[in-house]
Amino acid sequence: MLTYLVRRSLLVVVTIWGVMTILFGLQHLSGDPTLLLLPSDATEEMRRTLLHQLGLDRSLPVQYLAFLGHTLTGNLGLSWKFNQPAFGIVASAFPATLELTGAALVLALAVAIPLGILAALHRDTWIDTMASSIAVLGQSMPVYWSGLLLILLFSTTLRLLPSMGAEGLAALILPAVTLGFNTMARIERITRASMLEVLGQDFIRTIRAKGMPEHLVLFRHGLRNAAVPIVSMVGLQLGGLLGGAVIIETVFAWPGVGRLAVNAVYARDFPLVHAACLVVTLTFCLVNMLVDVLCAGLNPQIRLE
């Protein structure tokens, strides 16, 4: 177990190094940032000073090594736009993203698991058809569109819920529902499939024949054995949730890392882009590691090596 954790952690470090290298490469492909940062009538002198201040007048290998060193210490430099430490800006936006994705995930699970179990129990009835229609919608509706439709209905027309900002619980509802819809669809499908497989097995027939109450059959034996694919799916969906948050936060003006990243990309504010990508990638890697450990805990047949 310990060796597994050490090896996985090393892999996370390699991943982060790779991601940062890609971002470093992209930054240098994008040309001279001083053209964007300085007024068009700036002198050559001013340009040189700024390049020196940003450390961009050094040779590429030196810049690259310095960049990696700064990544290690979490000091990615000052945001070009806000003139504050980029990492600090991202860190202060991170709780909002965590709140949004967390709420979306909880909502998704709360709907998907009961719906998936119901669909599996009533296979090929109207319940199953309804559940799978909802799943198809969830998988195919673009999040930015379902977000706009919900705003249209609940904010513009019914005036029930706010369409932007992060003031209070009411403001969380629309973005979280929008973001959770797609995840819900995928978890519902895997729950249904996994439950169908487990419920068809011999031991379920045996305990039913022995007269075990149906709720125990379903939850203690059925769901427990069906859990591993579901938990793995939740881990896989995290990437989708974080990616969806990038768009959803922009649609709902939610003050999280996603909206920050989009605005940083528009402004070519590379320190801020780097910090946002670093935080998002690290979150993704760590949660996936946690999910794998959880799966091993749920099913003793899985050996982590």
Binding site: Q139, M141, P142, Y144, V262, A276
Partner: protein
């Protein structure tokens, strides 16, 4: 032969409409998609235009006919989807094969690189790439290929793990058939089924993500009619003109559902043994 399931038929029907619209857009579209009619700005659906023509789905802020823009939007959607999935497959499948057949160094290199790329949310990485390259259809294809090759590489690798132990592949290698020939003539054709499924699902993904990037303003260039770009305009007029938002979203959703239905159908028809790999 078994009858085709309703879902697959529905998917093919929707895509037939999309393809016909893309090919014959100038003939089908009632207006030029970039024809501005400022006097008829933000006209609701079923409004009559200046020359008495009908705006079936209304007009946008510049008075451009939404129906026509939706019809021309099929072009962006199809070109980017096929370009993106095709380019990703062209890069990813050879790398996946290399990982499966060329020894441990190639294996680790490709797999670690694929994991790396797939651990940043696609939309975030694609946004950065697009901001560096600039908004254009060609750059969209490049951005997809740079990231999504990893998906194809993983699947091709998983399939080659199984194929490389098969007798006929072992026989080729023992008989001295060159590696490129073994891979091209004997291994690749036996992967085409599962790869087709991944390709189809990738088309659905590309339609969604292309419109997402266009929605954020870093996909199709602004003057090209694209569904995502139309949604972006619609967002600004959400309070006053719902029709800007409704139509392009429906178009995206219908296309994505169609690709998914076809993908599911192809998957169901395949050898059940490959299902674990595809999931």
């Amino acid at each position: 032969m078994r009858r085709m399931p309703t879902k697959a038929l529905l998917g093919i029907a929707v895509l037939a409409v999309v393809v016909v619209c893309a090919l014959l857009a100038p003939l089908i579209a009632p207006y030029d998609p970039n024809d501005q009619d400022i006097l008829n700005s933000l006209a609701p659906p079923l409004t009559r235009g200046a020359e008495g023509g009908l705006h079936l789905l209304g007009t946008d802020r510049l008075g451009q006919d939404i129906m026509s823009r939706i019809i021309y939007g099929t072009r962006v959607s199809l070109i980017v989807a096929f370009g993106a999935a095709g380019a990703s497959a062209l890069v990813g499948v050879p790398l996946g094969l290399a990982a499966g057949f060329l020894g441990r160094v190639a294996e680790s290199a490709v797999l670690v690189l694929a994991d790396m790329i797939l651990s940043i949310p696609f939309i975030l990485l694609a946004l950065v790439v697009m901001s560096v390259l600039g908004a254009s259809l060609f750059n969209l294809v490049i951005a997809f290929a740079m990231v999504r090759w990893a998906q194809f590489a993983r699947v091709a690798y998983a399939l080659s793990l199984e194929l490389r132990e098969r007798e006929y592949v072992l026989a080729c290698r023992a008989g001295g058939v060159s590696m490129p020939r073994t891979l091209l003539v004997h291994v690749l054709p036996n992967m085409l089924g599962p790869l087709t499924v991944i390709f189809t699902l990738e088309l659905a993904f590309a339609v969604l993500m292309e419109s997402g990037l266009s929605f954020l303003g870093l996909g199709a260039p602004p003057e090209t009619p694209s569904w995502g770009g139309m949604l972006q305009e619609g967002r600004d007029e959400l309070d006053t003109a719902w029709w800007l938002t409704a139509a392009p979203g429906l178009a995206i959703m219908a296309t994505v559902i169609a690709w998914n239905f076809i993908g599911d159908w192809v998957r169901d028809r395949l050898d059940p043994r490959t299902q674990g790999v595809l999931r």
